[in-house]
Amino acid sequence: MRAPTTDRRPWTFYVLAAVFTLFVLFLYGPMACIYILSFQGPNGGLTFPLNGVSTDWFGALFYQQRTGDIAGAFSRSIPLALIVLTVTVVFSLAAGLGFRRRFVGAGLIFYAAIASLIVPGLVLSVGIGLGFQMLDIPPRWYSSALGAHLSWTLPFGLLIMFAVFSRLNRSYEEAARDLGASTWQTLRYVVIPIVLPGIIGVALFGFTLSYDEFPRSWLTVGPYNTLPLEIWAMTTNITSPALYALGTVTTAISFVVITAALTSIAVIQSHRTRRRVAREQAMHAGS
């Protein structure tokens, strides 16, 4: 092989860079347009150019008569996502711990759980909707929709916990036991702290998958829409930049949630390092 004699990059670098640029443009270009257009002036339309700049359309979101029940949709979607988050974390963690021990039927249960990832969301939604109707239970966001969302988030959470636990060395638990920890103490002081970043990942997935979910919500929310359904309804009957403002607001919320999760992971991981540095500085200052 010839040793590289210059810093010049091979032609493949430029091809791949161009492909990547196109990808980024395709991904973020339309979104950027929507964010910009959401600041359309009061007399502006749905397309460029901007006719002045304002935040009027954000205000318009909260007049139900004009744009649908956005505030109400938020008040259902956020609690729903939080409930899904909690249930997903608790059950994924428990299942992850359970699957660490080989038990009869483990494979079967695993594949049964994963299968619900493959079932099309709309079909599942129809099925749950019909099921509730047959049982004469009115579908609501906190019952039928919650179940539908969990059918989606639990397998995801389970897969993540599998990956997390497969990297967890069993000797940590044995060491804890050796040092006199009970099963609960081992879980509380050793296992959960070590897998905490993974748990936060599961929580993040649980929240965002539920908050964004359309097909599984479709026939399961009952008379009161969650946010994605409300937005969809709006696209069919309103044609004002308020739609774009809504897109901007929901993106901002997702962004805040993701940032919070990633920040907390980073904080957990650097926590002790910083504490150590602080202590060492204190020691040096004292000496």
């Binding site: 940590y172 060491a175 036991r177 070590i194 504490r275 150590r276």
Partner: protein, 377 residues
């Protein structure tokens, strides 16, 4: 701190599915002993350690500590503490909190447990690392923290699973010395699993040589090395050449071992005396053998072969002959003797030794005879 602990295994068996990892083991380790369980991987030594530690339950048999059957008791109630092969230090806790972990579990107050943890950290010279997390430590430092964490439970028996295998050569020798010193200071029982013969010999009061779930020999380091019980032990410990032959006659207290075309070995009979006509195994230490280029007459206590390899080892020279026995025949010559009359690869030479240096392997071949597919050393 700590009380000495006598460990006894009675008919201990452990099955994993169909295979017996440990098969009806009986072993008594006196209180305050440094014991090394030695054997190739898969011989069951780690399983024994884990059964004593309660991380593995025996399929049948008893584990007794100071006379009490501890099967079913958790480690803390047994008075055992284990140092894991990879140390298993909790990555999210500082060294101080790692060491204080068992005190926290038993409900000691924070100030008290930190104070005690600091004291034990001082003992392993790690106080200045108290606030570090394990990821910021070197291998040797991790080992000391793991040792401190195990010792803070005041164990009667400390169990060490290949504690030195993750360290480089220099640190391994250093930590080896520290472990031995620590054991002498504490006066408790150490049970140390290793697959390295020099480590076992250097450390142990009691060396337990294992193979395929059985104990081949349990004796002092000196006995295991100089008076191996079986051909397996002789080969596994190294430093020996093993011969097999038929006992053809015993006259005037001299046993004659006939190896047909390879000649005869004669050695003084001592208890137990093999019966005439039986197959016997004997060993001769590599450093008790001499070489000569003269093809002196005689076929007693001598073999000839072609020099295959010569390795200079500083104070001695390792000469490997082929054709002398069915396996490689190794002679360790003092450098002074070697350089008087140097041999070269390809030379045909004759090796000879004294009858008194022949050791009868009273246990015969041993379970598998050869410890490795191709001989080590």
């Amino acid at each position: 701190m700590g009380r000495p602990g006598e460990v006894e295994l009675v008919d201990c068996t452990k099955h994993f599915g169909e295979t017996a990892a440990v098969d009806r083991i009986n072993l008594k380790i006196a209180a305050g002993t440094y014991c090394c369980l030695l054997g190739p991987s898969g011989c069951g030594k780690t399983t024994i350690l884990r059964m004593i530690a309660c991380h593995e339950s025996a399929t049948s048999g008893e584990v007794r500590i100071d006379g009490e059957n501890v099967v079913g008791l958790p480690p803390v109630r047994r008075g055992t503490a284990m140092m894991f092969q990879d140390y298993a230090l909790f990555p999210h806790l500082s060294c101080l909190d790692n060491v204080a972990f068992s005190l926290k579990m038993s409900g000691a107050a924070k100030a008290d447990r930190r104070e005690r943890a600091r004291r034990i950290l001082a003992r392993v010279q790690m106080v200045q690392f108290a606030d570090r997390v394990p990821a910021q430590l070197s291998g040797g430092q991790k080992q000391r923290i793991a040792l401190a964490r195990a010792l803070i439970t005041n164990p009667r028996v400390l169990l060490l699973d290949e504690p030195l295998s993750a360290l480089d050569e220099y640190l391994r020798l250093q930590m080896r010395g520290e472990l031995r010193r620590m054991q002498r200071d504490l006066g408790i029982t150490f049970i140390h699993v290793t697959h390295t013969q020099p480590e076992a010999i250097a450390l142990a009061d009691l060396v337990v040589v294992m193979d395929q779930g059985h104990i081949e020999q349990a004796a002092s380091a000196q006995d295991v090395y100089t008076k191996p019980l079986t051909a397996y032990v002789a080969r596994f410990m190294g430093g020996q050449n093993v011969f097999a032959g038929r006992v053809s006659e015993i006259t005037n207290g001299v046993v004659v071992l006939d190896m047909t075309e390879r000649g005869r070995i004669e050695f003084p009979a001592s208890n137990p005396i093999p019966s005439i006509g039986s197959t016997a195994h004997v060993s001769v230490r590599r450093d008790r053998i001499h070489l000569t280029k003269q093809n002196a007459a005689g076929i007693v206590n001598t073999v000839s072969g072609k020099v295959r390899a010569i390795e200079y080892q500083g104070t001695w020279v390792k000469v490997t002959l082929e054709g002398a026995t069915s396996e490689d025949f190794v002679v360790n010559l003092p450098d002074t003797e070697f350089f008087v009359d140097t041999v070269n690869p390809g030379d045909t030479v004759r090796a000879y030794w004294k009858p008194l240096d022949v050791h009868l392997l009273v246990g015969g071949a041993g379970r598998t005879d050869r410890p490795y597919a191709s001989g080590q050393n």
